[in-house]
């Protein structure tokens, strides 16, 4: 059995690979290669992330001063709505599945492509069309309901482009459903011979669990948004109190999806971290079965806790009690993962390269954000902090401190495989630190102002909160710079970066058995898997081999 020293053999000539397999727009826009579709998603999500980021900048600009001086209140409502809609539906939900999931799943399981390649391309088109429709609504005046579209404001009173935005989100929802469907069938039916479920990489386990949520949850928001649109267009009163409708029913239907949706946003990230931790500790991951099982447990439990978003809505206190208990329970599988990662790093041969920096940042910030989730699961405490910046900080710690860091970590880790090039290590570490510092400066003060009572979604606030808000905006500026740096050096590396070896990290996994970048068909001959996953030699084994 070979040991996994990093492979540094220089590449001589340009081998045929998926990037040079065809040139020109048609070869990209009509591709059915999952790797090219991943690049298409990379372009899309980067674009919508930039738009969401611009709106975040506008929000933080407004919040520098206590009186709302830059924007009117109605405009501010549109700012945070657009920020939320763009980030949630057009960056976070499609992000890791569309980019890393698409690129890696077939490679990791030894398949030539996903189960339904044409459907995969359709998914991307649906995503782009949905995003452009939502963008059209934004440009023409936007929506001011919050990304949560609560009724009856969204159905009766709002003057914004609610129906158009809802249609855009609806279409993007179908993209998400079809992606989940594709991944689920792929993982079930296309694993290479010898790759039983217990030999599958943990990233695939995470994507499988994510697919379950995409399939079972997204249709509910789809129908809910359709009902909102129908109510707005045809005055059907499903959620209108004037007709006997109940706005809380909207919230039930909305959060039945939107809570599991946050796990669509975080489960893939958890899978990435599992891969990074084991690779950079050069050690088999601790507790493989527990991590795999915890992914599926999260997917299941996540559907049973949605009422914790509705503690103050008029929901029955008894239902609230049950949702509260279940919300405490749903933190357990996530904690199990954190313990297992820590145990993996313990006495590992740890090398602090950029992907691991992001992974370590993730572990700290995700844990922090997750613990604050326990505060919120407590019914009594949530009454106090609901609709304050405490909530905003909580979910940004998980989504930004968590998922986006994992996304960047994964992008760095697999960049040599995706592009065949190496990114510059110095600048990648600089940006990782800038992002970490900028992130904490942005969002930690928000926990404090939130706990002290500053409400969310208000463009003006009492004077005593100004210092913390200024700190937060300063942090946001730093964070923004941090996000731009990788954009620059990734692009730079495509042209000027050093050629990457096939396995520059010396990592395990079928994806590292292919050339960097891989050929279109991934594997000329379907591999057969015979060993356990993450089969790094322990220190003793390496010494024995010599």
């Amino acid at each position: 059995m070979s040991s996994y020293a990093p492979d540094e053999t220089p590449r001589v000539a340009e081998r045929p690979n998926y990037l040079n397999a065809g040139y020109g727009p048609k070869s990209w826009l009509l591709t059915i290669d999952h790797k090219r579709i991943a690049i298409l998603y990379l372009s899309g999500v980067t674009f919508f992330f930039a738009i969401g980021g611009l709106y975040a900048a506008a929000i933080r600009l407004e919040l520098v001063t206590p009186a709302g001086e830059v924007f009117q209140a109605e405009t501010y409502n549109k700012l945070f709505t657009t920020h939320g809609v763009m980030m949630v539906f057009f960056f976070m939900i499609p992000g890791i599945p569309g980019v890393l999931g698409n690129f890696l799943i077939p490679l990791m399981i030894g398949a030539k492509d996903v189960a339904f390649p044409r459907l995969n391309l359709l998914s991307w088109y649906l995503y782009i069309v949905g995003g452009l429709i939502a963008l059209w609504a934004t440009v023409h005046g936007g929506v001011d309901t919050g990304w949560t579209f609560y009724t009856p404001y969204s159905t009766v009173y709002s003057n914004g482009w609610v129906v158009v935005t809802a249609v855009g989100v609806f279409i993007a929802g179908f993209s998400s459903i079809l992606t989940g469907l594709n991944f689920l069938v792929t993982i079930h039916t296309m694993r290479a011979p010898g790759m039983g479920w217990s030999r599958m990489p943990l990233f695939c386990w995470s994507m499988y669990a994510t697919a379950i949520i995409q399939i079972l949850g997204t249709p509910i928001i789809a129908i809910t948004l359709l009902l909102v649109a129908a109510e707005r267009l045809f005055h059907l009163g499903v959620f209108d109190p004037a007709q006997g409708g109940d706005p809380v029913l909207f919230q039930h239907l909305f959060w039945f999806y939107s809570h599991p949706a946050v796990y669509i946003m975080v489960l893939p990230a958890l899978g990435v971290i599992s891969e990074l931790v084991t690779a950079f500790a050069r050690k088999p991951i601790y507790g493989y079965k527990f991590i795999a099982a915890s992914s599926v447990a999260i997917a299941t439990l996540s559907f049973l806790v949605w009422g914790h978003h509705m503690f103050v809505s008029g929901q029955s206190v008894y239902a609230g009690l049950v949702f509260s208990i279940l919300s405490f329970m749903v933190g357990v599988p996530s904690a199990i993962k954190v313990f297992n990662w820590t145990a993996t790093l313990y006495k590992g041969s740890v090398s602090y390269q950029t992907p691991l920096l992001y992974a370590l940042g993730f572990i700290g910030l995700f844990t922090f954000g997750g613990l604050t989730g326990l505060f919120l699961a407590a019914l009594g405490l949530d009454i106090h902090v609901h609709d304050t910046y405490f909530i905003v900080a909580h979910f940004h710690y998980i989504m930004v401190g968590g998922t986006i860091m994992a996304y960047l970590g994964g992008l760095h880790y697999w960049w040599p495989k995706i592009s065949g090039k190496l990114y510059p290590e110095y600048w990648s570490r600089v940006s990782a630190w800038v992002i970490f510092i900028g992130f904490n400066l942005t969002f930690f003060p928000q926990f404090i102002v939130g706990y002290l009572g500053m409400p969310r979604r208000y463009h003006a606030y009492p004077d005593e909160f100004q210092v913390l808000n200024v700190l937060s905006t300063a942090g946001a500026s730093i964070l923004g710079i941090g996000y731009v740096i990788p954009l620059v050096y990734f692009a730079w590396s495509m042209r000027y970066g050093k050629d990457a070896a096939d396995n520059p990290w010396g990592a395990t996994g079928l994806e590292w058995e292919t050339p960097s970048p891989p050929p279109t068909e991934n594997f000329p001959v379907t591999p057969t898997v015979t060993g356990r996953p993450y089969d790094y030699l322990t220190g003793r084994e390496e010494a024995a081999v010599g």
Binding site: M1, S2, G110, A111, K112, D113, V114, A115, F116, P117, I177, L181, N182, L184, V185, T186, H188, T189, M190, A192, P193, G194, I215, L216, G217, T218, P219, I220, A222, I223, T224, L226, L227, A230, E231, F234, H235, L236, G237, V238, Q243, G244, G245, D246, L249, H252, L253, T508, L510, E513, E521, F523, V525, T526, P527, T528, V529, T530, G531, D535
Partner: protein
Amino acid sequence: MAEAHAVHGHAGPHDAPPELRHHFVDLPAQREASALGMWVFLVTEVLFFGGMFTAYAIYRAIYRTAFEEASNLLDIKLGAFNTAVLIMSSLTMALAVWASSQGKKNLIILFLILTILLGGAFLGVKVIEYKQKFDHHEVPGPHFAPLNEKTHQPLPPQSELFFSLYFCMTGLHALHMIIGIGLLTWLILKARRGVFTPRYNTPVDMVGLYWHFVDIVWIFLFPLLYLLGRHTL
């Protein structure tokens, strides 16, 4: 650890059947994936319609009498007729799938045409029903003013909720029927070219699954929308 064996995962390019897509090992693998994919899609449809069934269940529980009174305004004869028509169309669809597994081209086309005709009949009846609602001011909105058929008294305001759900649920169902008829037409065009053989009839099988699912949705819509208040008459 993976070792790249020279496992010949699929037949060479000269003897691969034309229906086999390049990323599948063989036709049975492709069929297994297609079937799982269609069933998973139907799962999403269960949840999709399910959201409206949830709204219906909640409001019906809260506004029981208003819903029962409103339900009695629906034409039970047309509803029952439509139920029978759809059940018949499921039979013809199942027979079409059977015929395709035998490669009997003319029978496939016959049964597909029958299914389309029955589906069309269903939709035609729905048009008649919708028009009736329009004429009787039973469409939610500014002109909503339904009257109880026996007493000629106006219905309680929550009956508008019933009709909102009625139109949304049957409308979405009808949209699925229209899509289904489109798919059946596509199948007829393929069948005419002799594409379906005992070795390969997956598209017919998959559209069949879809059609039966749409039938199942109606199997639930009919009693919930048309029958729930009849015992008060």
